[in-house]
Structures are given as C-alpha cells and as structure tokens.
C-alpha cells in the first residue's frame, strides 16, 4: 500500500465520466523529443516507424491503445512544436 501512491478515492469517483480523446498529429512539425510519449499518463503513444521529411520519427497511437486516451491534453501542452493535440470523442466517455 505504501508505494508512494495515494489510496484515497474521490467521493464522486463512480459518477465521474472519463472522457475519451482522439489523437491528431502534425508529422512535419515533430522533432522527435519524445515528451508527448514519455509524459502521457496512459502510455497511449509510441514512435512511428516512418520518418517525416526532416528525418524525425513522430508519435502514433500504440497498438492496443485505440481507446486509451483520456483527453487530458498534456501531450498538446508539453509538445515544444505544437505538433500534437487531442479532440474529445463525443459520447465515448466511460465511467470508471
């Protein structure tokens, strides 16, 4: 239990709706810093196998992570190149 993780659960946890996000990438802007990949709380992203025109690999949704994005928008905020963002998928939210 004492592994640095909080065991507290919000009272309205069951009623909360977890949004689902759709990832959009602008490959030509990416410089492969990996911030979006490593700081995504849901490990949604991985590097592409292809490169963009300047030789950088860019993020793509990893295998099996098709509905894992929770639209927290951190990837969009942390990307130094404004090369990634998410859009909430209407009606696709789930309760935990």
């Amino acid at each position: 239990m004492l592994r640095g993780q909080s065991t507290r659960v919000p009272l309205d946890w069951k009623a909360a709706v977890l949004p689902q996000g759709q990832v959009y990438v602008i490959p030509s802007r990416c410089k492969e810093c990996r911030f979006c990949i490593d700081f995504c709380p849901r490990d949604v992203l991985t590097l592409s196998t292809e490169t963009n025109v300047r030789g950088y690999r860019y993020p793509v949704v990893a295998t099996g992570k098709d509905v894992a994005c929770v639209h927290c928008e951190f990837c969009s905020l942390v990307c130094p190149e404004y090369a990634i963002y998410t859009v909430e998928v209407a009606g696709a939210g789930v309760t935990p």
Binding site: F39, L77, C79, P80, E81, Y82, Y85
Partner: protein, 292 residues
C-alpha cells in the same frame, strides 16, 4: 481509433503558424513555455489586441516573432526599457517581457532591478536554461557553480544569481518559479501576473540540451525534463534565500512555487504633477456652500 494526421493545431491562430516549425532545437524548453503564455493570453479575458510581448536577443528572444499579437524584438538587454515606455504611454495595454536569463540578467540586469524597484506595470517571463544557448553555450549569470560551459571548460567558478530571490529583493510584487514541465501551474502563474498591477516576475526553468545539457552530462532534453519531474518540490512558502538551483546535485530538491504576492504602489512618474484627487478638492467647497 488510431492516429489521425492533421495540418494545423487548434492553438495555431495564436501563433504565426506560417513560420512553424520554429528554429528551436529538438526538446528546447522555450516552446512549451510559449504555449502556456499563448493559452494564458486567451484565458486572461483581455482582448488579444491589448496584449503586447517584448523581447531582447537570444533563443528566448525569438518568442515575439512567433506570436500572433503585437510583439517587438528589441536590442540586446533592452526589452525592459522598451516595454516600460509602452506600458507608461499606453497603460491600458497588458505588456509582457518574454526573454532569456542572459538577456534579462546580464546585459539587461540594471534595467530589471530598476523596473522592479520602481514597480513598473510589466510581466517579466524569463526562460532560464543556465547558459547563453544561441551563441554556443557560454557561461551566463545563472550558470551553476562548477557547471561546464564553452567559456568554462574546467567548470564555472562564479556564484550564480538566484532569480526569484533577486526579483523579490528588488521589489517585484509577484514572484514565481516553474518549469517547462509544470505547464498548468505556469499558465496559472501567468494569469495571476496578468491580473496584478506592478512588476511581476516568473522564472521558467527550461531544457537547453545543446548549450547546457551536453557539456554537463545531461543526455538530452528528455533527461533534463525527467530531472525536473523527479527533483522539483512545490513550496510556495519556501524561504527566498533558499532557492538556489544546481541541476547536477541530484539529491538536492529544486523548489518551485508562487513565492511572493504583495501589493505596492505602481510606477507613475506623473503622479506628483497631477492635482490632488477630486474628492478632497470639493469637500471644503461643498462645506462652504452648506454653511453659506
């Protein structure tokens, strides 16, 4: 659903998107900080045409060139006097100075301390990456003692500035420190600064993998961001004298927070020339009329 490809970013209208991709190196911390500032511009509720952004020279000095608002790229170290004139002549504008540690605190150091002392109505946002990045990684006024730089191949032997301590000591009414990783907190701090009258100062610690990381055994930008994630602690009430940073001392915490939030009269050079406020002027007159 898999990845969808796009041509434009929802934040593009805030940038001069035709100039993207920008010139900054992969993983440079200036980009995320500029995004937080751009979002704060919108969320401030102040119309975009009333925001002004001024910079000096350096990698961070490029920021105004990428923002789709009125913005000025001035000479080295002179962003603050330029911005001060704008703020004094057009007090209805929300003026920010967005520049780097070298520009603001070496070449422009005197301008900063006197703008803070006078409490000019400016929001100063300083990217601190501990070196002169654009010119090739020389020692600057924030380079930690012992850190390597192109002009200090055996290690820097100068005591660096602790920027929040300096800003607080010289009179800034709001002083904060965040990083290129603490972006939501940074955005909130910028919003607070935009609400306040007087000189506000926000330091943003940012990776410069080329100038600072490489000679100091910080592998890449991701590694420097991980250092921020592991070592930063938020303590708004931390003693100002204890805010020194040395990225290389891996067991020493880096303190972040909104350290100062006070009120002080704002710089108003014409205050002495103006007649006394109206209420006092008319009070004796009104009394006379009543008596008479």
């Amino acid at each position: 659903m898999t990845t969808l490809m796009a041509e434009r970013h929802p934040s593009d209208p805030l940038f001069r998107a035709d100039r993207l991709p920008h010139i900054w190196c992969p993983g440079c911390g200036i980009g995320p900080a500029m995004h937080a500032y751009a979002q704060a511009l919108v969320e401030s509720g102040i119309p975009l045409d009333r925001h002004v952004c001024v910079s000096g020279i350096g990698c961070s000095g490029r920021v105004p060139g990428y923002l789709n608002i009125d913005s000025y790229h001035t000479t080295h170290g002179r962003a603050i006097p330029f911005a001060m004139a704008v703020a004094l002549v057009r007090p209805q504008l929300e003026v920010a100075v967005f520049s780097g540690d070298g520009d603001l605190f070496a070449i422009g150091g005197n301008h900063f301390i006197h703008a803070a002392r006078r409490n000019v109505d400016l929001n100063v946002i300083c990217i601190n990456n501990f070196n002169y990045g654009m010119t090739g990684g020389q020692v600057g006024p924030t380079t930690p003692m012992g850190a390597r730089a192109t002009t200090a191949p055996y290690g820097n032997y100068e005591q660096p500035f602790s920027l929040p301590y300096l800003a607080a000591a010289t009179g800034a009414v709001f002083v904060a420190r965040w990083t290129s990783l603490h972006l939501r907190q940074l955005k909130q701090a910028i919003l607070r600064a935009m609400k306040k009258r007087g000189l506000t100062f926000i330091e943003v610690l940012a990776p410069c993998p080329v100038g600072f990381g490489r000679p100091n055994e910080i592998g890449d930008a991701m590694e420097e961001m991980m250092l921020y994630r592991e070592r930063c602690v938020v303590d708004h009430g931390a003693p100002l004298a204890a805010l020194d940073i040395d990225l290389r001392q891996r067991d020493h915490p880096i303190v972040l927070g909104n350290f100062v939030d006070i009120e002080r009269p704002v710089f108003d050079p014409l205050a002495m020339r103006r007649p006394a406020p109206e209420v006092e002027d008319h009070a004796p007159l009104a009394r006379k009329e009543q008596e008479g």
